[in-house]
């Protein structure tokens, strides 16, 4: 790691995002240090996915700044941001269903021109996900939800991202897959990858993360070390409308 530690890898200030007449994210500040796993949790509709779409450039910010290692990227288009090493695994997987698993992985390395490196990475991904290796020439659309999620993560790994944005990786998955997904995230963490994890499965997310932000109605209401956040009663309240 050569990045200056004084400077967070990702630094977001006053981010405002919205659709049509509505602002869904109303001035979010957050930062992600290199090599850390940071989670962004919150109820549905709080603006988590919108935030990630803003970070990856799918949605143009209305205000605020997004700095990657000090450079403002908030005006860049999605493909330029991908080039800088921010890779998003979108909500709902969004694998290319009509392409084979191999082709999906090759798409992940779209920006890489070194073919040898590409196949080296592919072998690596397939070793990590043996389920995918068995079916590399099948259409991704035929995979189960959990397998598609693995493919989506594998596809992101093909780009060897500086910052991985994971959007609800456990969404809609059967419990055994949820476990497996979190096992993979734990492995990523062990490899010192930088991850911003958006999750609804707050407990699992908080256990794996170093740092956590709680998002409510488009605003950060709580932040700090994940362990502290996990112990905060208001988190349970945010989810189940307690009190």
């Amino acid at each position: 790691m050569t990045e200056a530690h004084s400077l967070p890898l990702l630094d977001v200030r006053g981010l405002v995002l919205g659709y049509g007449r509505i602002d869904a994210v109303k001035g979010v500040d957050l930062s992600v240090e290199a090599g850390r796993v940071v989670t962004l949790i919150g109820a549905n509709g709080a603006g988590k996915t919108t935030t990630l779409r803003g970070l990856s450039g799918l949605l143009r910010p209305r205000a605020g700044s997004i700095r990657l290692a000090g450079t403002d990227i908030s005006a860049l288009s999605a493909n330029r941001i991908a080039r800088l090493g921010i890779v998003q695994v979108p909500e709902g997987r969004q694998v290319f269903a009509n392409m084979t698993i191999d082709e999906n992985l090759r798409m992940g390395a779209y920006l890489l021109s070194d073919r040898a490196e590409e196949s080296r990475r592919r072998e690596h991904v397939l070793t990590r996900f043996p389920r995918l290796a068995e079916r590399r020439t099948q259409s991704a659309g035929l995979l189960s939800g959990g397998e598609q999620q693995m493919l989506a993560m594998g596809r992101a790994m093909m780009a060897d991202p500086k910052l991985l944005l994971l959007d609800e990786p456990s969404m809609g998955l059967a419990p055994r897959f949820v476990e497996e997904i979190f096992r993979i995230i734990a492995e990523f963490k062990a490899e010192q990858r930088t991850i911003l994890l958006v999750e609804q499965n707050a407990r699992a997310a908080l256990e794996i993360a170093d740092q956590a932000y709680v998002l409510e109605s488009g605003r950060i209401t709580l932040s700090g070390p994940a362990a502290d956040v996990a112990n905060d009663q208001s988190v349970v309240a945010a989810y189940l409308g307690g009190a």
Binding site: S56, N79, A82, Y110, L111
Partner: protein, 293 residues
């Protein structure tokens, strides 16, 4: 006689397929029925004609030149008409209407300046000599057309399957947002697809113009009617479907004219079209195959 009729059918079928390729590609990837496509057919032929006739370009140079120029025109048209609609996320009928208007505009502009007189390539441009095998005659330009049609299908499929650009095109066709996340410059790839379609349309126009040696602005409009039939029968967006549907149409037309009645020749395509709409609207071969390739 049957052998010659079958060969005739394959040749005209190949011209339909060659024409429909770019049309169906545009639909498969960009999800628009771009009616200006017929204009590219005419434009390509006219540019090649002027290059060979007025500037004495050899046809082998004029062909790629005209095709590339037309491809660029296609990019400009896409940028002017369709990109704004895409940005606004306008309904699909809006793009159909805007290209409909543009088609009328472009054809009538062309005829206003060029007229509808048939023009021909200089005789030296092509070798029209024929080859005769067992009583079946085929000219060199016809062999070129059939060869090009098959080669283009093979090339397009190879592009779609084997290259990174092809992958990006298919990714764009399937899910533009996910493609952007992989680093695909969607605008650029969109323009590239427009370019390739325009080029294909122009190449078809030039080759077909060479074969029948009759070039005029409205030649694309006539072809468009066959084009609709081919891409719907073959399945919107299906590259192989376009080739097969084109050949089927050409053969059926030829056999109808040869053995039933030539007055019914044109009706065959539309009958097939209507039957497809009634019974198998996704086309003969299922769903859009650009996305699957």
């Amino acid at each position: 006689m049957l052998a010659q009729q079958l060969v005739n059918g394959i040749i005209s079928g190949a011209t339909y397929a060659l024409f429909a390729l770019g049309f169906t590609l545009m639909f498969g990837v960009l999800n628009v029925i771009n009616l200006t496509y017929g204009v590219y057919f005419s434009t390509g032929a006219l540019i090649a004609l002027y290059a060979t006739r007025n500037f004495a370009f050899p046809i082998l140079l004029a062909l790629p030149l005209a095709a590339v120029a037309t491809g660029l025109i296609a990019v400009v048209i896409d940028g002017l008409l369709l990109t704004p609609l895409r940005r606004k996320k306008a309904p699909e009928l809006a793009s159909l209407m805007v290209t409909l208007g543009a088609t009328l505009l472009l054809y009538s502009l062309m005829t206003a300046f060029i007229g509808t007189d048939i023009q021909r390539f200089p005789p030296a441009a092509i070798d029209s000599s024929a080859i005769e095998i067992g009583g079946v005659r085929v000219s060199r330009s016809q062999i070129l057309i059939v060869g090009t049609a098959f080669a283009m299908v093979a090339l397009l499929l190879a592009l779609m399957r084997g290259t990174r650009l092809g992958l990006a095109i298919r990714a764009l066709a399937e899910n533009p947002d996910a493609a952007r996340l992989m680093g695909v410059d969607v605008t650029l790839v969109t323009f590239f697809v427009s370019f390739v379609s325009g080029t294909l349309g122009a190449a078809a126009g030039i080759l077909i113009g060479l074969n029948y040696n009759a070039i005029q602005p409205y030649m694309g409009e006539v072809m468009m009617l066959k084009g609709f039939a081919v891409i719907i029968i073959g399945g919107l967006g299906d590259i192989r479907g376009a080739l097969i549907a084109g050949l089927i149409l050409g053969l059926l037309e030829g056999l109808t004219a040869g053995y039933v009645a030539s007055s019914l020749k044109d009706a065959v395509g539309f009958l097939l079209l209507v039957l497809t709409l009634w019974f198998r609207p996704v086309g003969l071969f299922g769903r859009a195959a650009v996305k699957r390739a």
